[in-house]
Amino acid sequence: MTRRRIILIVIILGSWEAVCRFNIVVPLLLASPSEIIGALIQSWPEYLVALRFTVAEIAVALAVAWSLGIVTGTAAGMIPFLGAAIGPILVSLFAVPLITWYPLFMVWFGIGMTSKIVYAVVSGFFPIAINTMNGVRGLDHRYFLFGQAIGCSRRQVIFRILLPMAMPSIVSGLRIGTALIVIAVIVAEMLASLGGIGYVISYYRSIYATPHVYLGILFALACALLANWGLGILERRFMHWRELQIGDR
């Protein structure tokens, strides 16, 4: 399996390199793998600085969006009055193309990291809150009664029963939210910023340094993979029983 995969990768990289070497595609459009590696060797410290910038923004945005989203969603799911009030607002705001807000965020929070973080939090918050709300709302009311009957405090009902029950739904919200946060940070950096992977991509594009643009894209991909990996750990930690269940069918 792994061996086949390696062979496949070698074939793809080889043909990619060949396409570039024989000038089948204009170099401005497609950089060859060797050129991209060259770009990495040439200016890796610059990318490292940019990566730290971007990873920091993503990390802060994830922490804020996850906690805000889960807390809001749980409250809206548990309290019917609140759910009726904010549920529709959450759903309709999620449908708005949030990028339209970014210029405004820049005016409010400046060109630095804050505007990226705010924009990313707003992007990731809605799917997390909506999924958590639906997850908690969809729970069998009897689990709540069961918790009360065995003497759980309100806190215990929430943390020991309701949230774990709603975990499959919450995690799918986190998946969507996390992906959107990574996208939001990089797009925001590309539009206007002082640093980060998106900034580097945008800068090199403007000076037609195609290999660097591709290298930047690879780093952006790395950010997404990193976030996904973290999510995977969380999923395994909380969802092992779910996987068993699915594997069983």
Binding site: D140, R142, F146, D248
Partner: protein
């Protein structure tokens, strides 16, 4: 029926009024009955008549709008997990916990230490005959087994009262009959007081000493049937003349109620 046994549960003029869109709906009205220590009392009635609400009031989960629930002579105002356990139609097991952990969960909430919890869970598993499934997850078990685990979990804190809300309602006929036998066996071994809700008249008569018959809107106790069938019970009893007579009597009460319900429905149209 030995009348010398003390009364464990008593309701006095219990009532519940819901308001839906500001219109009051009388769900339960003037419910008064008693359950003796170690007794097995069933409650039957048409669906939607407020059986579950009544059970939740007996558990201290839902406040009444009139009257009182007394447990051991004291007014019940909140859940009393040390005295009363509740079982639902769905086993409400926690899917991410193994069977033994599920049984331990109420004990953990109650503050029992880990070693005692483990012993207690093992004892309960052996009581319901599922010792070898301790390390399984609920979804790996059949519906009947899940309900047996649910019984084990309910009995783990050693409550005196077991309130069961249509516990076998979702099971197939065969499993249901087996579960009934199983419950009677556990009941006779543990001496718990059981209050059992069902929509099956056969099940109610087969299991209990006393059957309370409830009407629909307002939910009232319309009759108390003490069939006096001999114990231990075997499946043959269901074919007996006494059983049939008692069953018919309950059926008449309930179907009458259905008629009035239908005419009420017409009137409101």
């Amino acid at each position: 029926m030995t009348s010398a046994r003390p009364i464990v549960i008593e309701t006095r003029g219990l009532g519940k009024i819901f308001s839906i869109d500001r219109a009051p709906i009388i769900a339960l009205q003037d419910i008064s009955f008693t359950v003796q220590e170690g007794g097995f009392v069933s409650l039957v009635g048409p669906s939607g008549c407020g059986k579950s609400t009544l059970l939740q009031m007996l558990a201290g989960l839902v406040p009444s709008t009139a009257g009182q629930v007394l447990v051991d002579g004291l007014i019940l105002r909140e859940p009393a997990p040390d005295k009363i356990s509740v079982m639902f139609q769905d086993a409400t097991l926690l899917p991410w916990k193994r069977v033994a952990e599920n049984i331990e969960f109420p004990l953990e909430i109650g503050g029992m230490n880990a070693a005692d919890r483990r012993d207690r869970a093992a004892a309960m598993l052996s009581l319901v005959g599922l010792t070898e499934f301790a390390a399984r997850y609920p979804h790996e078990l059949s519906g009947g087994m899940r309900q047996r685990i649910s019984i084990a979990r309910a009995l783990a804190p050693d409550p005196r009262i077991l309130l069961m809300d249509e516990p076998f309602g979702a099971l197939d006929e065969q499993t249901r009959i087996k579960m009934g036998h199983e419950l009677l066996r556990i009941w006779s071994r543990t001496g718990k007081t059981i209050f059992f809700i069902t929509h099956s008249l056969t099940e109610a008569l087969f299991l209990s000493d006393v059957v309370l018959v409830m009407s629909h809107r307002p939910g009232k106790i319309v009759d108390v049937i003490v069939a006096g069938l001999p114990r231990p019970r075997t499946y043959d009893i269901i074919g007996s003349a006494e059983f049939g007579a008692a069953r018919n009597r309950i059926w008449k009460l309930i179907s009458q109620d259905d008629d009035t319900d239908a005419s009420e429905g017409m009137a409101s149209l």
